[in-house]
Assembly symmetry: C2
Homo-oligomer: 299 residues x 2
């Protein structure tokens, strides 16, 4: 099948690699506003060639969009306009409500599958792309009742080829949960990095004193602002709620700290320790899934 | 040399393992208030035997304390009272000002080396101990002018055997920097975990939606409250400053988010991206140190 990938960064590039590997894409065409990224994507073999949007959309069987979510809202209606009537369009945006709203009344809405494959690293651009990024990760499809059976079926072939496990959710519900479980982590990490850089003007102290714990908590502060600013803005309402609750928890902790109320600090931390069960569960899930897969391979 | 380790958890246990491996400890005696930890430490071979504090201190050449920092302040004077005049006492506490103050006027102060080997994981107890925990990590010695040359020399043999790189710092300066670079990371992680657990009462959503980014930022929320509550309390003043600055950064970010000031959000995140250089530096440092060591081994 002819696959067109719009946006040749970490997400788009990694999708391209694994769709070719799985044999699902027989021709891969890339589109990217950034000429340097486009050139690099061909050089790295992520796509076979670069074309203008018009040409690339006209002949594609599958179109995958992996661009910042604000650009997604602007571009999606025109993409649906341009594709042939049998084509399937998949958007891989990290927010879903505004994107779904942007095409809610589009006559070709049923050709779109609104998805969120939850995977990534703190790196960006075509050079950050790699095979296996999506393996054993979760994919969310929103408003599945608005996609045709054909679109869903073709998109599931794409998601399965990437190793994703797909579940279904309402767009609003999706946005609310990712505000807490993903977006808040990024904000907390960006500002933790900022706070430390602000104080430790002489970086030799960070070098000497930072342990693996610090590196772990600020890892996400390396993420791309161009990608995240539009996500935060599109998910403003839920992210704002999450941020206010986080700030409230921090202030309450500060209050008990200043009162030297060790018992209460202990209680708060013991309660936060419960996250261990969740994290162990995530590890367990990934593990049992890879075992499952290796059993399947042996068959 | 006869080494006594007081506190047989992650830190004390890991020190014991590597001092035996290096041939520096010919006899290892353990002391722990927790009978179950004591039993386990012998079973795991971390120490040869368990003795009462009195007995264990009397004959020791080196005494290492790896207990919560509040217990450290209480116990240290009595430990110095009990050891023989040629013994060297090392405290491995994560705060240094109050610990140094607790023994400031002790007649045997010069037998103590106040240190902070900066290493750890989110796990605790004797079963969490492992060989190599301290390899290529930084060790801080505070108030080195108050330790005798003999004490410093013996302690350096211990720190070198563990693979630590030692630097010197004032106790207040140490406490200020670790508030930002270590303690704040732990608080932010504990409360991020708490915020998410608070909202996501139905944990299936965390399981499904959490990516590796979330796992990375909340990893430290698994840490031991019994260890961290006393650290936070002892470092109350600097940690409070760090927390207030972090909260201020979060609130400022929230303000610009609500104003949909994407340009300013971008600027803040780009500035936080600078942490990449620091983190790369930490990785590079660790890497070049291991290369250095493998070159030394080849000699």
């Amino acid at each position: 099948m002819k696959v067109t990938v719009i946006g040749l960064g970490l997400i788009g590039g990694s999708i391209a690699i694994d769709l070719r590997k799985a044999g699902l894409a027989t021709e891969l065409v890339g589109v990217d506003l950034n000429a340097e990224h486009a050139r690099k994507a061909v050089e790295l073999g992520l796509v076979d060639k670069i074309q203008t949007e018009d040409k690339a959309l006209h002949q594609a069987d599958i179109v995958i969009l992996a661009i910042p979510v604000n650009a997604m809202c602007q571009l999606l209606p025109a993409v649906l306009d341009a594709v042939k009537s049998t084509a399937v369009v998949i958007d891989a945006g990290s927010t879903k409500s505004l994107i779904c709203r942007a095409v809610a009344n589009h006559p070709k809405r049923e050709q779109l599958v609104a998805a969120h494959p939850i995977a990534g690293t703190e790196n960006s651009g075509p050079e950050a792309a790699f095979s296996g990024l999506f393996k054993n990760k979760t994919n969310i499809i929103c408003e599945k009742e608005k996609s045709s059976d054909h679109s869903l079926e073709v998109s599931m072939r794409v998601f399965n080829a990437l190793g994703l496990h797909t579940i279904f959710m309402e767009a609003e519900e999706h946005d609310k949960h990712v505000a807490y479980v993903s977006h808040l982590s990024h904000v907390s990490s960006f500002l933790l990095g900022q706070t430390v850089l602000d104080i430790e003007k002489d970086e030799k102290n960070i070098f000497a004193l930072a342990g693996s714990g610090f590196a772990s908590t600020v890892r996400l502060a390396k993420s791309s602002p161009e990608m995240w600013a539009p996500i935060f803005e599109q998910n403003l309402e839920y992210l704002s709620q999450a941020l206010l609750e986080y700030i409230m928890h921090l202030q309450r902790f500060h209050y008990h700290l200043m009162k030297r109320d060790t018992k209460e600090l202990n209680r708060i931390m013991s309660s936060a320790n419960e996250i261990r069960r969740v994290l162990d569960g995530i590890e367990l899930k990934t593990k049992s899934q890879s075992e499952e897969q290796s059993v399947e391979k042996q068959k």
